[in-house]
Amino acid sequence: MGFWEQLASNLVFGILLGSVYGLATMGLSLIFGVLRIVNVGHGAFLMIGAYAAFWLFTLFGLSPIASIFMALAVGLALGFITFYSVIKRLIGAPELSTLLATFGIGLFIEELAKLVWGPDYRGYSWDTPYISLGISAISFSKIYALLASIVIAFLLFMWFKKTKLGMAVRAVVEDKEGAMVCGIDVTRIYALSFALGIALTVASGVLITLFVPVGINPYMGGEYTLKAFVIAVLGGLTSPWGAFYAGFIFGLLENGSYTLLGLIPDVEPFSLTRFIAFTTLLIILLIKPTGLLGGEEM
């Protein structure tokens, strides 16, 4: 396989991976955008989604595509529960309190998952057709993941722009007092936004298993939390749409740079890809400190 073929194939896989990264970050950005809370326990919710896909498939043979809807429902419920039990008390609290609280929630969920499901690395085999690309191949499950994340992002976008509730959320972001004066129940909007953010994160956990159906374990979320933070910052932190685009950029950089780095003799290209991805982030932030879509809030 020639250089260009390899680059092209890696860029294609980069786009596919990026779509999953994008959706996995939208929840984080949404919660920060509305509540100004950094959800450090992000990865734990994502892990719940991955397990949901695994269990629904293994126990009931449910297609992971259908699991996305289940995950959204589970995520909403989980989000409301977490909001009313913990987060509600932390609105307007100093950053350290919210960081500690969300960190604690994350740990709690991970350890609970380990207690209930055990520390095994799980996975499922959902056989889908594949498209042959000469020497490599793309399985349909990855394409489904791409489509699903675009559809979910689009629906969310429409919800924010067109529905009353969506507008109420935007109103709260823009001017909390003003929204209150207009009779919007700010706490309810907070609860809803938080739950939506969690639902997106849990759903993206399902998408991750569409991309990689193995290695599902209670601590799998950590890696994605780190990447999600980077992608969120890249996208402007408060903007879910920015996060979605930034996910694609990150995926492309991570996979695409591999081929280019492979041209340098005596380096381990894979270890450098992350370096390149993070360096690009720094450069973008130097040029545009507010992130790609920074300032352009919901």
């Binding site: 085999s125 601590y219 990447k227």
Partner: protein, 448 residues
């Protein structure tokens, strides 16, 4: 009301904490003999029962939780065998009983030095078990060595641990450099035409040591290493590196690192339809969850293992080699293991190697007739014996394990079989393995 409730919970928790603190020194009487009059028959002189504390940082949470839990069960089984079935280690008028004191290291390197120090200074551990993995083992080694306490590696295979000049670090499992050598020997023997080897592995202490050893061995066997690249920790997507590897058209692939990446490697080779004659992946395929996760895609995939249920180590095998046997037989170990792990659990090699480390301590104390660190360390230099885990003999200079041998396992028809070396094998090797397309159609790697 709420505040009162909260306050009272806090007060109770505080008291509980204090009570535990107060109890701690009492709970670990390291050197003080404990009286157990009920156990001693009246006619014999009452032996003095001395508790030997073995301190262990174990990964009970975090990314090595799986291996850590297995280690703990193995340790418990060995402890029970020594104290109850063997009746303690009898030296002169003393009976040494083992007590393992452990803390959860959360699978984090940065926790190890302080835990090791705490085990030595405040828990008065006489001996130490190193934590799981090479990285964590390395983190604690200088502390143990500084205090002159023996630090037995049961999950740290990297050769580099034993190249630092430590006096008190010894090893129970085979060193990393030996992990993939048996597999390469097998390929060489089965197929003289297989020439091209690809190596694709995680960028970590352990895997690097494994593949440095593998490269050396491959070249010695006259094989050509056509691809030798690493991927970073916790990869999400191996497609780029795998497509580059596929372009080199290797005959066999050896690779891996730990659990998640090992599963990912097999899964993505299947997705990209990269067909080779044989695959050996570190760690991941050695556990049943590998087959559960990958299904028939796992067929034919091999892995090196320190130990496997069915490995032919027995008192008779020891006699044949002219060495001592020590510890429970495999069946006895399985029974003991299940008492702690539950009857539905099977030990992985992590449990066996941890148990063997404890047994080696007992054997060495018996030989040294003392629990003095230097005496036991010296006694270890002359030990050559066999447990259910295999042979135990260290290089006196470095403490590196040289007696123990690896086995190669392969998934055949949903079962894990030992295929190499022939003396320990429970099945013939299946070679070359079915292609991914054949496996999709349900072909299994079961030899006739």
């Amino acid at each position: 009301m709420r505040w009162i409730l909260l306050l009272s919970i806090l007060v109770v928790a505080l008291f509980a904490g204090c009570a535990q603190q107060a109890e701690k020194p009492k709970a670990t009487p390291a050197e003080t003999p404990a009286e157990t009059p009920a156990q001693t028959p009246a006619e014999k002189p009452k032996p003095e029962v001395v508790t030997v504390v073995i301190g262990a940082p174990l990964s009970l949470s975090g990314k090595y939780a799986k291996e850590g839990q297995m280690s703990l069960w193995g340790v418990k089984a060995a402890e029970k065998w020594i104290n109850e079935i063997y009746g303690g280690i009898k030296v002169g008028n003393k009976v040494y009983k083992i007590e393992v004191k452990y803390y959860d290291d959360e699978s984090k390197k940065e926790n190890i030095p302080s835990l090791v120090e705490r085990l030595i200074t405040s828990d008065k551990a006489n001996f130490l078990l190193a934590p799981y993995s090479s990285g964590l083992t390395l983190a604690g080694a200088p502390i143990a060595d500084k205090y002159g306490v023996i630090y037995m590696s049961h999950g740290g295979a990297s050769d580099r641990i034993f190249e630092q000049g430590y006096q008190y670090v010894v090893q129970t499992l085979s060193p990393a450099s030996k992990y993939q050598t048996a597999f390469l020997d097998m390929v060489k023997e089965l197929d003289p035409d297989a020439k091209k080897v690809a190596m694709i592995y995680e960028d970590n202490e352990f895997a690097k040591a494994v593949f440095a050893g593998a490269r050396e061995h491959a070249e010695k066997l006259g094989l050509e290493v056509v691809f030798d690249k690493t991927y970073p920790k916790n990869p999400t997507d191996l497609t780029p590196i795998l497509s580059e590897m596929a372009a080199k058209e290797p005959d066999v692939v050896i690779g891996g690192g730990h659990f998640a990446d090992g599963q990912l490697l097999a899964q993505q080779m299947a997705e990209l339809k990269i067909n080779v004659k044989a695959i050996s992946i570190l760690v991941a395929p050695a556990l049943p969850s590998f087959y559960e996760a990958l299904g028939t895609k796992a067929e034919g995939i091999a892995a090196p293992a320190q130990w496997e249920i069915g490995a032919a180590y027995s008192p008779d095998a020891a006699k044949e080699l002219g060495i001592d046997w020590f510890g429970p037989t495999q069946d006895e170990f399985l029974k003991l293991f299940k008492q702690f792990a539950g009857s539905d659990k099977q030990p992985s090699y992590h449990a066996a190697e941890a148990a063997a480390a404890i047994l080696a301590y007992a054997k060495a104390i018996e030989k040294a007739e003392s629990i003095d660190s230097d005496a036991v360390r010296n006694a270890m230099n002359d030990l050559d014996f066999m447990t259910f885990f295999g042979r135990w003999k260290i290089d006196p200079e470095t403490g590196k394990q040289i007696g123990h041998d690896m086995v190669v396992i392969q998934w055949q028809g949903g079962e894990k079989k030992i295929i190499w070396p022939p003396s320990a094998a429970t099945s013939k090797p299946y070679y070359p393995i079915p292609t991914w397309e054949e496996k999709d159609q349900g072909k299994l790697a079961v030899p006739e």
